[in-house]
Symmetry: C2
Subunit: 201 residues, 2 copies
């Protein structure tokens, strides 16, 4: 059985939990508290030298890190990843956008507000706020004429972007004026077997 | 013919140029000076709302952004991307690592030193230095027992990580003690049809 090293408040962990649940793939979940350093122990670093969750332990005994790489692995050959080459690349485009332009700003501020907002972190908030809103503007513009991010079908691109967008308010981002994003969030929540970010499966 | 919107000093642009050249795919290159705001014009934002190079204009007239998504698109079905499912996921794992843990630290400091090191940027350098060296340590540990990042074969995972690693010194990172990384850089440079970061093709 697949084994997922996870941390329940993590949107990156949530992406993987959601895909596994929607694909009805059985998995065992191991909770690691990142605030207690449980992903930086020698034991965990032997599994993922980058010291982060989510981490997937596959049935071949090998480990796969990076949430969006795990999503791609799990979704290959399923309706959650298009089979057509250009659409697959578009899915990846949005997942790289998520990890580069979205997550480091929107998710990071939420994490700081959940854990500890030190003065050093507070000093970085204005820049992250600006870059986070810029990422949301790119999404809003794209979704204004589309139902989902790629090929008008729900895919792992939507899951990757939904994970931290729908809880952006927990990091102080105001989504009130982003009507296309809000409508898309509703469509994502309406998918079969949807689970909330706080659910283990 | 494929058209690449590019900026010659960019390592992200270089990745795409290198793959196109090694695959012997003809392409037209359009240089945009990001320091002069040429990727933030209304004309360019209509092509890529995220306002960044590299951007690939495909023969279907559609645009593909995000360097590592472009790499995956170009490499599918070639020796630069493994055909086996788990190895493909491992390639993606390293490319997401590159965009999340490596590029924002190592490439960004190089870009600042090339363009303008403002006091606001200077204040962020110590943290980026720490995170950049942490990323290099993950690479060094992985390469200590391997010739390439995935499957003991040269792939787009190596290209993605080589782009900003081999010029990390331009951002003030000292690679002197990273012997596995240095030996791997030599192996990357020894690949057929290799081009330097300053070469257009």
């Amino acid at each position: 059985m697949l084994r997922l090293y996870d941390y329940l408040p993590s949107g990156n962990g949530y992406k993987v939990r959601l895909v596994l649940t929607q694909l009805a793939v059985p998995f065992e979940r191991l909770e690691l508290d990142i605030l207690k350093g449980q992903t930086r122990t020698l034991e965990f670093l032997a599994k993922n030298p980058n010291g982060r969750i989510p981490l997937l332990e596959c049935e071949n005994g090998q480990f796969l890190a990076e949430s969006d790489a795990i999503l791609f692995y799990l979704a290959e050959g399923t309706p959650l990843l298009p089979a057509e080459r250009f659409e697959r690349a578009q899915v990846l485009q949005w997942m790289f956008f998520e990890q580069y332009s979205h997550e480091p700003n929107i998710a990071t501020v939420r994490f700081w507000m959940h854990s500890a907002m030190t003065p050093e972190r507070q000093a970085q908030v204005p820049q992250k706020r600006q870059l986070g809103y810029a990422a949301l503007a790119v999404m809003e513009r794209h979704l204004a004429t589309r139902t989902f991010f790629v090929g008008e079908r729900y895919s792992i691109a939507d899951i990757a972007l939904y994970a931290y967008t729908h809880v952006a308010g927990e990091g102080g981002f105001d989504l009130g004026s982003y009507s296309a994003i809000n409508a898309w969030c509703e469509r994502v929540r309406a998918q079969p077997r949807h689970i909330a970010i706080t659910q283990a499966s």
